[in-house]
Amino acid sequence: MSADRVMLTLPIEGYENVARLVSGGLASRLDFGFEAVDDLQLAIELVLRSLPGRSGSVDISLVDQGGSLTVVIGPVGSLSLEQRLQPLDGAGVELGRSLSRLVDSVEIAPGPTGPTAVLAKKLPARAR
C-alpha cells in the first residue's frame, strides 16, 4: 500500500465516528481548513447514512491525489445520487446535489465488488 492511500473496512451501521476520525486525520495532514475537513467528513457520513440496507460492511479508500483527496466508498448497492432527502425543501433535495455542496465532485462508479461512490475534495490553492 502506498503511503498516500488509507483503506478502511467498516460495518455500515454505527461506525461513522471511525470514518470521521480517519478522514479527519488524513485531511488535516494535507492542510485542509477546519471547515473543509468538516465538510468532507459530513459528505462521507451522508453517504454511509444513505446506504440502502444497514447490514454488512463497506470499504472506504482515501487517496491523496496531490492537490485533492479522493474518497471511494463501496459497495454502495442501489444507492442513487438522485434519491432525495425528504424533509428538505418540500419535495426533498437530491443526495447528489447535497453532496456537491460538501465536496468538489461526486459520482457513482463501478468498483471491484459493485458500484462505489467517489467523492473528491480539492485542496485550497494556498495549501498546494
Partner: protein
C-alpha cells in the same frame, strides 16, 4: 423578579397587543429589548455546563420570541410569569438535545471548548477557516489531539427526548441539575415536543439544512446568518442528519 427592563406590565401588554393585532414589528422588538436583561441573566445561569454563553443567549432569545408569540393576552397573569418558564424550558430542551452522549475525558471537553473559540477567532483573523495545524499551534496541542477533540465534540449530540423522559440511563442527572422554577407551561411544551417526537425537524434545523444543501452557504456563513457559532452549525448539521436517517428508516 430581577433582570426585567423598564416597561410596566401595562406598557408591555400594549406593545404585545400592537404586535399581535396590528403586526407592529417595532413593538415586538421593543418588547424583546425590554426582556433582554432577563434573557441574558437566564442564559448565564446555564453557562458553564459545556455550552458557550453566546449559544445559550441565542437559545434563550428564541424562547423569548416563542413566548411573545404564544402568550394569551386574555390571561390574568403577568407576561413575565409566562416568559420566564418558557425561556427556561427552551434552555432545558437545548440541554436535553445536547448532552454528552458518551463519556468524554475532561481534557477533551475542555480542549473542544477551547477549539470552538479558536475557530471563531482565527476565522475572523485570517478571513478563512483555520487549518487543523493552525488550531493545534494556537491551542499548543498536537494535530491528533485537535482531531480527537473535534470528534469528541460530536458526542455532544442529539439524544432521544423519549429516552430521557423515560429515565433509562444515568445522563438524566443533567436534567435533574437543571430542574428549578415553574413547570406548568414547560410541561405543556414538553408534551407537545414528545407528541411530535423526533420525526420532524424544527424550524432552525430545516433552515440550516436549506442554507447548506440548497443554497450552498458555508458553515461560517450559516453561523453568521443564524447567529450561532460555526462549530454549533457543524453539530446541528450532524444531529439533523441523524434525524433524517431515523425518518427514512421509520417513515
Amino acid at each position: 423578579m430581577t433582570g426585567v427592563g423598564v416597561a410596566s406590565e401595562t406598557d408591555r401588554r400594549s406593545l404585545l397587543r400592537a404586535y399581535r393585532e396590528n403586526g407592529d414589528l417595532a413593538a415586538r422588538d421593543r418588547l424583546v429589548e425590554d426582556f433582554m436583561p432577563l434573557i441574558s441573566s437566564l442564559a448565564r445561569r446555564y453557562a458553564g455546563r459545556g455550552e458557550q454563553l453566546e449559544d445559550l443567549q441565542q437559545v434563550a432569545a428564541l424562547g423569548l420570541v416563542k413566548a411573545i408569540d404564544r402568550f394569551d393576552l386574555d390571561r390574568e397573569v403577568d407576561l413575565v410569569t409566562y416568559i420566564f418558564p418558557t425561556v427556561v424550558g427552551e434552555l432545558k430542551r437545548h440541554f436535553r438535545d445536547r448532552v454528552w452522549a458518551v463519556t468524554v475525558p475532561r481534557r477533551l471537553k475542555e480542549l473542544y471548548q477551547q477549539l470552538s473559540r479558536l475557530v471563531e477567532d482565527l476565522s475572523a483573523l485570517k478571513g478563512r477557516s483555520p487549518t487543523i495545524s493552525e488550531l493545534a499551534a494556537a491551542a499548543d496541542v498536537t494535530e491528533e489531539e485537535v482531531v480527537e477533540a473535534l470528534e469528541a465534540g460530536r458526542a455532544f449530540t442529539a439524544r432521544s427526548l423519549t429516552t430521557l423522559h423515560e429515565g433509562q440511563d444515568g445522563d438524566v442527572e443533567l436534567i435533574d441539575l437543571l430542574e428549578d422554577e415553574e413547570r406548568g407551561y414547560e410541561a405543556a411544551d414538553n408534551r407537545e415536543l414528545l407528541a411530535a417526537g423526533l420525526k420532524s425537524l424544527d424550524e432552525r434545523e430545516r433552515r440550516i439544512l436549506q442554507l447548506r444543501f440548497v443554497e450552498g452557504l458555508t458553515q461560517s456563513q450559516i453561523a453568521a446568518d443564524v447567529g450561532v457559532s460555526q462549530m454549533h452549525v457543524s453539530r446541528l448539521l450532524r444531529q439533523t442528519l441523524e434525524k433524517l436517517e431515523r425518518e427514512i428508516e421509520s417513515p
